[in-house]
């Protein structure tokens, strides 16, 4: 592999081939060997491997450089590709004799992984994916594969090219690349995107959560009819806010929340609040 190394007058530069290999190792392997102890550490090691092989001819130097990256690492892997890019830049500088030690690199890695995980979790997993899934479900209504295909294509294009962009930005700009993610303009943009996500989630809840009561009121009408008169889809809204209140204000775990709902469903079925929807309407 050492013949890949591009020797330049001013020093060593990571070859394009090694960069591409490093990026793809991260793109695919960031979490493939996950454990609670070392979450993305091995993903990080394999993505730094082509880089150190490219920068150092000596086997011992390669191993020494690689060992830097054996510290614990975990972040949101899509946006986190920027961190890998940043450390590639640092490793390159170190190979050229700049005074960068293990502690510097690991300090930067540890300092970045938390904030970027926060941004990635809220922006990608909490906003982008739900929006795409919401649109996909709209297109798949009635069982059409169109929505699933839409999601597969759009998400994967965004994920691949987005990660690629983040990786190379990190490599080229170093710490400045991250600055662009946490600066005031980026924060404003992020808040705006989260606003879209929150609104779309409201629409997803209204469209796909359907809770209705089978209770009939004395005098002929149904309780559901009364609810519809107040606000359509009132029950889904109430139960969603109730679950949010349980998890966010009472710190109840999702699993316990589900069990509470099971208890509510059982009691509701016993007292006739809940009935089997289609059977209730057919009767």
């Amino acid at each position: 592999m050492a013949d890949n190394t591009v020797e330049q007058k001013g020093g060593r530069k990571v070859s394009k081939k090694a960069l591409a290999k490093s990026f793809h190792n991260w793109y695919y392997g960031n979490l493939t060997c996950f454990s609670q102890e070392h979450m993305q550490t091995f993903g990080y090691l394999v993505s730094m491997l082509p880089i150190v092989e490219d920068l150092y001819d000596d086997k011992d130097d390669q191993q020494k450089a690689l060992t830097t990256y054996s510290a614990f690492f975990n972040t949101e892997p899509q946006i986190g590709s920027m961190i890998v890019g940043v450390t590639v830049g640092l490793e390159e500088a170190r190979a050229n004799g700049e005074a960068i030690d293990d502690d510097t690199i690991n300090g930067i890695r540890a300092g970045l992984m938390g904030p970027l995980a926060g941004i990635g979790d809220s922006l990608i997993v909490g906003t982008l994916i739900p929006i795409l899934l919401g649109i996909g479900m709209g297109l798949s209504e009635g069982g059409s594969p169109l929505g699933a295909i839409f999601y597969i294509v759009v998400w994967n294009l965004l994920a691949y090219f987005g990660m690629r962009f983040a990786y190379y930005r990190g490599y080229k700009l170093g710490g400045d690349a991250v600055e662009a993610l946490v600066g005031p303009d980026a924060t404003a943009l992020r808040e705006a995107i989260v606003l879209v996500g929150t609104m779309v989630i409201g629409a997803v809840a209204a469209t796909w959560v359907s809770i209705s009561t089978a209770l009939t009121l004395p005098g002929g009408g149904t309780l559901q009819g009364t609810f519809d008169g107040i606000y359509p889809k009132l029950l889904p809204l109430i139960f969603t806010v109730f679950c949010w209140w349980l998890m966010s204000k009472k710190k109840v775990s999702p699993i316990v929340t589900m069990l509470i709902l099971l208890a509510i469903a059982f009691v509701g079925a016993c007292v006739g609040f809940f009935g089997a929807a289609t059977i209730a309407t057919a009767a």
Binding site: T32, Q78, I152, M247, M258, A265
Partner: protein, 290 residues
């Protein structure tokens, strides 16, 4: 509906690819194949009924619309919800005369949701199982790294985890979908449709998606006014009948306004600190007023 060995093998394979530390990678595995909507299509193709697959997948998808795994803790496992839950729900719906008559109805969706969420919750054990077995490969990895056998790291990260997945993804999925279908069908069909157990099952199925939505809300809502965009989107769909694409378009418009406002705000802050610019801006504005 019968699942043959070949179909069960395929489902097991997809379970290996799709799980959270999955072998399809994060983007393609977890975030694509591990989303119930996509899994509905995949399972539908494998079992030969794409329409039902998508319907079941969508029902389960709402519960897992925002499956965030902060710090590697999970409350649900996607491989179990997708590649055990969806096939079982499809078999159960096909095997029940009342449900098979209306597979796109609310009852079928509720049954799918309950089965999917149950599998997803119990499946968390598969997640922790995989992660624990991976510790063995990582221990080998440290030894190889120490010896300078750096290329073996590929083995640790990309090849050896297949063993973890054969143990914790492939075998459980294969066994449950191959042998469990009949059991689920028999159990469900032995319960009267209008009895309390079935009514509870349908009711909990209709309630569970609220948890998925609420998990998402928990992340974005920090103060009471943060609820307003949620209510706004809810009202657009529930009262005004907007579909998801229309809602997204309206949401983007409001986001644009918010973004522009924040930009003006930060500009004003900057202007406030530098007196010279303040003066010139004031001048401009006065001229315009006149």
């Amino acid at each position: 509906m019968e699942i043959n060995v070949f179909q069960a093998v395929l489902l097991g394979l997809f379970a290996c690819l799709a799980s959270m530390p999955g072998l399809g990678g994060t983007s393609i595995g977890n975030y694509t194949l591990g989303r119930p909507l996509v899994a509905g299509l995949v399972v539908g193709i494998i079992l030969g009924d794409v329409t039902l697959g998508i319907i079941v997948g969508m029902a389960i998808q709402v519960v897992y619309i925002a499956l965030v795994t902060p710090g590697g803790t999970v409350s649900a496992d996607v491989r179990a919800a997708c590649y055990i839950g969806i096939p079982l729900a499809m078999i159960a719906i096909k095997g029940n005369p009342a449900l098979a008559a209306d597979p796109s109805g609310a009852d079928a969706a509720a049954l799918a949701t309950t089965l999917g969420a149950t599998c997803g919750t119990l499946g968390a054990i598969l997640f922790y199982g995989t992660a624990t077995v991976n510790l063995a490969w990582q221990a080998m990895g440290w030894k190889w790294l120490e010896k300078g056998d750096t290329h073996k790291l590929y083995l640790v990260d990309m090849v050896l985890p297949w063993i973890s997945h054969i143990l914790c993804s492939f075998i459980p999925t294969f066994v449950i979908v191959y042998f469990g279908g009949d059991m689920v069908t028999t159990l469900l069909n032995s319960l009267p449709m209008d009895g309390i157990p079935m009514k509870t099952l349908f009711a909990v199925g209709s309630l569970l998606p609220c948890v998925g939505i609420a998990i998402l809300l928990k992340q974005v809502i920090t103060k009471a006014t943060d609820f307003l965009p949620f209510f706004f989107g809810f009202t657009l769909a529930a009262v005004m009948g907007c579909n998801l694409i229309a809602c997204s378009a309206i949401a983007c418009f409001f986001a644009l306004i918010k973004f522009e406002l924040s930009k003006i705000e930060s500009k004003l802050e900057k202007v406030g600190t530098t007196g010279a610019i303040t003066a010139s801006v004031d001048d401009d504005e006065e001229e315009e007023d006149i």
